[in-house]
Structures are given as structure tokens and as C-alpha cells.
Symmetry: C2
Subunit: 323 residues, 2 copies
Amino acid sequence: MTPNQLADALHRQFEQTPYGQSPAELYDPIRYIMSLGGKRMRPLMTLLAASLFTDDWQKALKPAVAVEVFHNFTLLHDDIMDQAPLRRGQPTVHEKWNANIAILSGDVMLVKAYEQLLDIEPTYLRQVLTRFSKTAAEVCEGQQMDMNFESLDTVSEAEYIDMIRLKTSVLLGFAMEVGGIVAGADPVSTQCLYDAGVNIGIGFQLKDDLLDVYGDPAKFGKQVGGDIIANKKTFLLIEALERANGQVRLELLNWLTQSEFDKAEKVDAITSIYDQLGIRELAEARIADYFAKGFANLEHITADPARKDVLLTFAHQLVERES
Amino acid sequence: MTPNQLADALHRQFEQTPYGQSPAELYDPIRYIMSLGGKRMRPLMTLLAASLFTDDWQKALKPAVAVEVFHNFTLLHDDIMDQAPLRRGQPTVHEKWNANIAILSGDVMLVKAYEQLLDIEPTYLRQVLTRFSKTAAEVCEGQQMDMNFESLDTVSEAEYIDMIRLKTSVLLGFAMEVGGIVAGADPVSTQCLYDAGVNIGIGFQLKDDLLDVYGDPAKFGKQVGGDIIANKKTFLLIEALERANGQVRLELLNWLTQSEFDKAEKVDAITSIYDQLGIRELAEARIADYFAKGFANLEHITADPARKDVLLTFAHQLVERES
């Protein structure tokens, strides 16, 4: 199966998934946030992982939906916590309805994610639910760490990598792992799929941090420099704070503590500091490292070479994205 | 086993249950809300239900904890939605920490409730998780209906009963059912346990509505008349609005639309309207009906009579509570 064929099957599966009807205030927000789209990269990786080991990749469809529903549940609740007005260019659930409805429809989405996993073959059910629950708790841990970082003066690179591993990467790891499990993969290959997902996921998040500053405005979906304007503790800022000395450090701290400033001027100034400190090259090297680790994990998997090629080709396209 | 012995075992189980450690802001609120106590009626009913069918009631301990953790998760999130300052006389989680921490630690509590169910024997795992997920979604539906009722002019008795069935009773139903399932009960008995829990649960909620007005202030844990002061659409108010005519109706509507009033005067006046309309007797009759249905469900269960007596005696004590 080609990635496009799997994406079509996934699209049909999402359209057929019933989330619930009444009361409408509880279930409409689920359909709304699921309809906003997104790249659906995680569930597609679930199907690609399953396709490595079986022609019956359809058995991974519901687990793939579970991953995407869970991901959207976290977006829904994170948007309340961040008081974000927009998600994918549309009003967030707490803006379109209200915060109480957003809390409660998020809660029921988490239940619906679990429900999508219950048709898994009994042999794999406990294993998958144990792994999913651990992943879900870790994603919450990562979100809490991210919130904690906002009020810290300094965050180390190791702490930052640990936070993004939990908040964003373990879910890609689980997405790939569960595809392998339900397809009957051997334990070593299953572990490799998980590790690959985590490493590629960390690479993605670091690339997101990089594109915020160095992305092509025509390709990058968000405002370039948004993280800089908001003083967001990204990989770039954390490294800059660790490396900057003397006058450069004073200039950086000065920008970070200004409450009124010209946005374009701040973005230019901090980008220039990053340039002087070699932060771009450092980030690019780290991203390349994590992607390389992820691909090494994939190489380790015992599966038909032609099938592996489909996954590897797709993963290479993914990591080269500019948005 | 006596109910006291089971309650002791349950207490030890709660003390041994690990909820997680780091970050502390995520997991401390779970230990905090679990430490506030409460009657722990639901998990005790899980153990009593299991004891009907097996000496190995210990296998129901983790499912019992799952029920209580889930119940406390709903309290935690409901308190945010209701902006409640106190829970069991102590600051609510969103007051003691903040709303974001309350949302996120609630989310992880729901995951932890599922985790407590994963050690169930594989034969019963899918059944229990399917029933738990359905119950969890229904509790959210009931909470949403309750919020919707606040902005409605009229609510029918049937709509009200349906709301409390979902918001509070199905969880007692599941608590008893899961005890039966893991103890290997036959499907008819399992269904009877569920139905008994739902019926007794509805009776409890109606009794709560009644005690708010007619409870002994020395025994009732909350402020008598609190629902009246807040215009809460309880069974009593819904019935009064359905029955009041002429001058009595005008007086009732007048009290409901006053924005400034003497609290004691309002409680006295509306209680007097309830008295005139026979609302107390009506509520008592409905409560007796639901309890009777619940006990009839219990009678239907196929189990050793001596063991059934333990459950029936305990349930009789519960339904006669005054707080």
C-alpha cells in the first residue's frame, strides 16, 4: 500500500467514527476539532508501521484513530490552558463554546480514544492499553513541565529535551509501536518502532523551534518569530542563554525583559544574536542527530525490504518538510 | 467478610496506590483530593458485590480503586466548572493550585483510573473496559445536561431523572457490576447488580435533594436550604414548578427572580410552598420507589443467601442515612 492509499483509508475511517450525539454541546466540539484537519501524521505512521508486517493493515485503523483523537484531546485542553484564540486558523473550542464545554468535551474525547482501542485482539489488548496509558500520562507530564518552565529563569538543554520528549514525541513513538503490535511484530521491532518515533518526534519539535526563526514565511504556517516575540523557551533561546556572554548576554536579557517593543525589531535583534552564537548550526546538528538515530532504529527492524522502503521514503519526506 | 473488614482492606489499598511523582504539580493534586476522604461508598459496594460470588474478593480491589479515582476526577473537573471554592470543607484543587493544574491533573487521574483496571483477568478485560468507558462518557453527558438545565426555564421530571441517572447513578451501577464481573458472576446477576446500583443511586440523589430542605441541620453535612438559595433545579423545585398554580405559582416565581433577598426568609417561604404542594411526600414516595426497585434487583441475584444478607443489610443502612 502506498502512503496515499493509507491516507485515503484513514480519511474514510475518521468519517465513519461515531463520537456520540447527545447532548450536542458535549459531542459537537469533538467533531469540530477533528474536522479542523491537521497533517494526521501520527495515525498514518501507525498504518505504515502495521504495513511493515501484515497485509491486514486495516486492523490498525482504530488504533490509528485512537492516537489522533487523543492528540486532539490534548490540543483542546492545552488551548484552554494557553488561552489560545485560534487553532489551525479557526476559533478554539473554548472560544467557540466556552471553557466548561471545552473541559468536558475534552474529557469525553479521552474516553473515546480508549474506546477506539478496545477492539484490538485480546492477545494484545492489555499490552496496548498499558502502553497507551503510560504514554497518555507522560504527555500530561510534559505539558505540566512546559507550564513550569514558563516561570523558571533557566532551563537546561537536557530538561528541555526531556520535556519535548514527553509532551510531543512519546505519542509518535506509541503511534508507530501500536501499529507494530497489532500487526504481530516481534518485540525487538516493536521497540525499534517506538524508539524511531520518539527520536524522529524530538527532531520534529526541534525543527519546529528552528523554523519559527529561520523558516520561509511563504511555507511556514505560522508567524515567523512568534516564539521570539513571546519569549518562549525554545531550544534556540535555551542554547543562546547558555552560550551568550558579556555584551551579547546583556543585549539578549534586555530584549527578554522589555515589556514594550517593536516586534519586527525584537525578532531581528534576537535572530542576529542567534546568528552570532551559531545557534542555527547547533540546532541543525541536533535535529540531524535525532533524525539519524530515528532512521537507525528503523533500519534495525526485521521486515520485508520493499515494505521498509515505503516507510523510510515517507519518513524522509516528512523530516524534510518546511512547514 | 464484614463491610468493616472490606472498608479496612480498601483503605490499605488506597494507601498503597501509586499515582505518580514528577512533576509534583501534576501528581500532588491527585493525592490531595484522594486524601479528602468521602464516604467511599462506591468502591465498598464493588467489594461487597464481588464478595457475593467469591472468597477472593481481593481481585476487586483495583477495580474498586478505579471507580473511586474516576469519581474524584469528576469532582475535580466539576469543581472547576462550578467555580466551587471548597470540597469536603477544604480548598478545591483549582483554588489551592490553579485552574490549569486542576484541568491537567484531572486528565491524568482519568488515565490512572483506566490503569487500575488493566490487571483484570484477560477474560473480563474488554468487557470491563467497554462498560467503564460507556459509564465514563455517560457521566460526562449527565454533567453537560446539568449545565444545560441552568439556562432552561422548565425541566421535566423525566429529563431530571435522566440527568441524575447519567451524572451520578450509572457510576454506582458500574461499581457494583464490575465487582460481579471480576468475581465471575453470571450475566443475569451482573445485570441485576448494575440495575440495583442505578436505582439506588437515583434514590440517593433524590434523597440528597430532599435533605437539602428537610434534613436535620445537626446531621446534614451542608447548609440546609443551599439549593433553594441558589435556585438549583432539584427534584423538589421541578415538581413545585409543575404543580404550582395561581397565587402560589406567582409567589414561587417571585422568589426565583429576586436578585436580592434574605436567605432565611427565602428558604422558609419556598419550604412552605413545597409543604403546601405536598412536594415532600411526593419526593419521599419517589425515593421509596427507586430504593424498592433497587432491592428487588438485588433479590434477583443468584448467590448464597448469607452473603446476600451482608450486602442487603449494608445497603439498607446506606439508604437510611440522614447525611
